[in-house]
Amino acid sequence: MTLVTVSLWGLRTAVVAAVIAGTTLTLLRSRYDLSQWFAFVLAGITMGSIYAQVALGYTMVYGVLRMINFAHGDITMGGAFAGYFVASASNRAGTLQVHPVLAIAATLLAASAVAVGIALLVERIAYRPFRHVRGFAPLVCAIGASLFLEQTFRGFFGSSVKSYPDLEWQDLAFHVGGVRVAELDLVLICCAVAAMSVLHFIVNKTRMGAAMRAVSEDADTATLMGIDVNQVVVLTFMLGGAMARIAGVFYAFVFKQVYFYMGISLGIKAFAAALLGGMGSIPGAMLGGFVLGLAESVGPALFFDGIGVRAPFQLRDLIAFTLLIGVLIFRPSGMLGERVGMQRA
């Protein structure tokens, strides 16, 4: 056994032991009652459905191009910004309260135009020249694109945090066993599942989906078979951008806030979700998103509180990053995906 194997086993044992110890102690102490746990779970699923939609964009692009679209989080941010301007305009005009469905549709439409536009521009300027390049140049260029987008939005719209207008029906909720369930959360979860189903259908049942799978398998052979690779890539980015805009707008409706650097952390976490589910797998991205959302929301209370960690919710991001690295080390193929990471040059 080499040093590496020994230390990996050590790491694995330590993490599992910490999780088990923390969980047992927390449950024994019973600091939280059942309805609190239920609230954590619900919040986790809501957040997870947003991660899932952003993760779908990562997975789509990875599946076709075998590259990490590092700027995806910032494309989401762009969609959220566009949505903010339409939503606040329709709020001033009064349509948001009178015809909420119409206004939200308009918001989504504007956001989608912007997000898809940004996605296509990024693809054309920063990614296409590197399609046949191996090594870190494509990733570096993607990091550059991410920074560029972030700073452009800061320059255009300022560095202040913008708050989305309130919706009246947003406060609608019903109670299940003493726990408040907001309707918006349900809408969000349904949207995420619907988005995944649509994508799954497109990829597996349509002609375009067949072309995507062919390009993913072997781009050069696909070209020989008469598939326009550029067209497929553009469509992939459009679908990814569309997912990002829905996620961006919903994120903004739930958390009420839009700011120029929101893309980075959202992007990294969604990437972790995509990886957790298995890069390139559409149901995997969904599953990964929900698992990450749950782990982030339930985790701090469940794992850390028991060990006696002060202010456990500050360590929320720690869980996401530990999951990210853990998946990369121990199961690069994720829960449902192909094996990546180790074999890619």
Partner: protein, 541 residues
């Protein structure tokens, strides 16, 4: 005939779009606050000129002779028209509620303080005239062209770095009359600009003359020609801080710190091909170790001197590097980058949390880190701290240079070029990668240690992901694998934004743009090392 016309127009519109972007992102207004020649032309106006000239040069490139000048004028006019469209929109609708940069001041700048119609006419006319003259200039013989370019560059440099030059001149009172003649309160005077142009042109003429009349065989021998630029760079970095003021010393100190980190990251990325986005973690470990061992705060573990704490800090960084490296270095390519980024973030989250605050001070950080003392006297001034960092960077350069030439260096490059081949040739991948990661961490730890004593306090907010990206950007821009390139990169990406202070908030925009542009146009960097284009292997279809 329609296609060349259309192409010239398209070029112009593209450059016009760049101008609109620069205006909307707020950069133009910021640059406009700095005079090049007082009450005559500002840096923002120079940016507009540069865009028109760029449009002219690009459009003229595809046509020979005078047709090129015509194409350039068309492109310049198209660029002007594109920008004029923004001006008209701004004059008609107030977009300031959405796009905060579209202020009345910007409108005044773009209409040249006149009416809308006059402004549009000037934009169109000046665009065409500038682009046309740029194309004409490109058609001049080499010698006069070089004079004009050198003169313009001299004026631009003398104007943009007014503060820097003023500070240096102020240190010598006997030059006061000269200074007052050439410089107004915040830029060149007309007379100063004329002199700067003459000086630049003369210098360029002298240089051309000397080069042309030096017999080829008497010219510097091969080895010297290779070393001359590096030696002059070294001389500049040694002497410049002595004559510059303390502000420049401070800028140079930060630059030297980044050079030190760049050398470390270059071992990982440039030599071994390991893309590390969590480099800041080792910087943080070095800084925190130093603060804990020397600081006068409640968290302090010991009261060592800086000189005793520094080696321990470096050692700690190496240990953390190896600890982090063992699990993640088996990954390849992009996944290693993401995993290291995660490690860097984990370090920051732990350090900032309340949970670890008894040890690391949480968000309040660690304060009262003493300055290093030499012969009983603390090194307090920026100049002394600069020399401290400079010496550290020199030692690091020597170590990196020896490593590169060693057996280990060759193993790193083999791993970088092809891992599988390297392994089949008997390179122990894990060992070699761990060494690269650990040694890179050592340099970052040293930089962190110096940083802690330099700013005499350590806050978690100093250790953002942005630092890693910053160091990566500077080695990629300068030329990966090249030690001189790191200095150039640090000067361009760290020194320049510090000098043009109002530009500071746009530095990350500069990094992002620089990364994309460099990767696309010049992946080998500004000062290539001759190792080709690492990270840029083209696979055959």
């Amino acid at each position: 005939m329609a296609t060349p016309l259309r192409r010239a127009t398209a070029t112009g519109v593209l450059f016009g779009a760049v101008a609109i972007y620069v205006a909307m992102v707020g950069l133009l207004s910021v640059l406009h606050t700095r005079w090049i020649v007082v009450d005559c032309i500002s840096l923002g106006q120079v940016a507009l000129l540069a865009i028109a000239i760029g449009a002219g040069l690009v459009a003229a490139r595809s046509h020979p002779g005078l047709a090129g000048v015509g194409a350039a004028m068309l492109a310049g006019m198209a660029a002007g028209a594109t920008l004029a469209a923004l001006v008209v929109v701004m004059a008609v609708v107030d977009l300031r509620g959405t796009f905060i940069a579209l202020s009345p001041q910007l409108l005044a700048l773009l209409t040249f303080n006149g009416t809308l119609a006059r402004g549009v006419a000037v934009l169109l006319g000046a665009g065409a005239a500038l682009a046309g003259s740029a194309a004409l200039l490109a058609r001049l013989p080499r010698l006069p062209r070089r004079f004009v370019v050198a003169g313009a560059t001299a004026v631009l440099a003398a104007g943009a770095f007014t503060e820097l030059i003023q500070v240096i001149l102020q240190a010598h009172p006997q030059l006061d009359t000269l200074r007052e003649h050439f410089y107004g309160s915040d830029g060149l005077t007309g007379q100063g600009a004329a002199w700067a142009a003459c000086l630049g042109a003369t210098a360029s003429a002298l240089g051309t003359f000397v080069l042309a009349h030096m017999p080829a065989h008497a010219a510097a021998p091969h080895g010297m020609r290779r070393w001359a630029p590096a030696a002059s760079l070294l001389l500049l970095l040694t002497v410049l801080p002595l004559i510059a003021g303390s502000y420049i010393d401070h800028v140079l100190m930060v630059m030297a710190l980044y050079i030190l980190m760049g050398i470390g990251l270059n071992l990982e990325v440039g030599l071994a091909g390991l893309l590390d986005l969590g480099f800041v973690a080792f910087f943080a470990v070095g800084a925190y170790t130093t603060a804990l061992l020397t600081g006068d705060n409640t968290q302090a573990l010991a009261a060592l001197s800086f000189w005793a704490a520094m080696p321990i800090a470096v050692l700690m960084s190496v240990m953390v590097g190896v600890l982090f490296g063992i699990p993640v270095l088996g990954m390849r390519g992009d996944y290693l980058a993401v995993a290291t980024m995660g490690l860097g973030e984990i370090v920051r989250i732990v350090v900032v949390s309340d949970f670890a605050s008894p040890l690391f001070g949480g968000a309040q950080g660690l304060v009262q880190v003493p300055r290093p003392a030499l012969a009983g006297r603390p090194l307090d001034s920026p100049l002394q701290l600069y020399y401290l960092t400079f010496v550290a960077a020199l030692i690091a350069t020597y170590v990196a240079w020896r490593l590169e030439k060693s057996r280990l260096g060759r193993a790193w490059m083999a791993v970088r070029d092809d891992e599988d081949v390297a392994e089949s040739l008997g390179v122990d991948l894990m060992r070699v990668k761990l060494l690269a990661y650990g040694l890179g961490a050592a340099f970052a730890g040293l930089a962190g240690s110096l940083f802690a004593t330099m700013v005499s306090s350590v806050y978690p907010s100093s250790f953002q992901l942005a630092i890693s990206v910053n160091v990566l950007a500077l080695i990629l821009v300068g030329g990966i694998g090249s030690l001189a390139g790191i200095v150039i990169g640090a000067a361009a990406l760290v020194g320049l934004p510090e000098l043009l202070r109002e530009f500071g908030e746009y530095r990350y925009l500069l990094y992002g743009t620089a990364l994309i542009v460099m990767m696309r146009l010049r992946p080998e960097g500004l000062w290539p090392s001759g190792i080709g284009r690492p990270g840029h292997r083209r696979v055959q279809a």
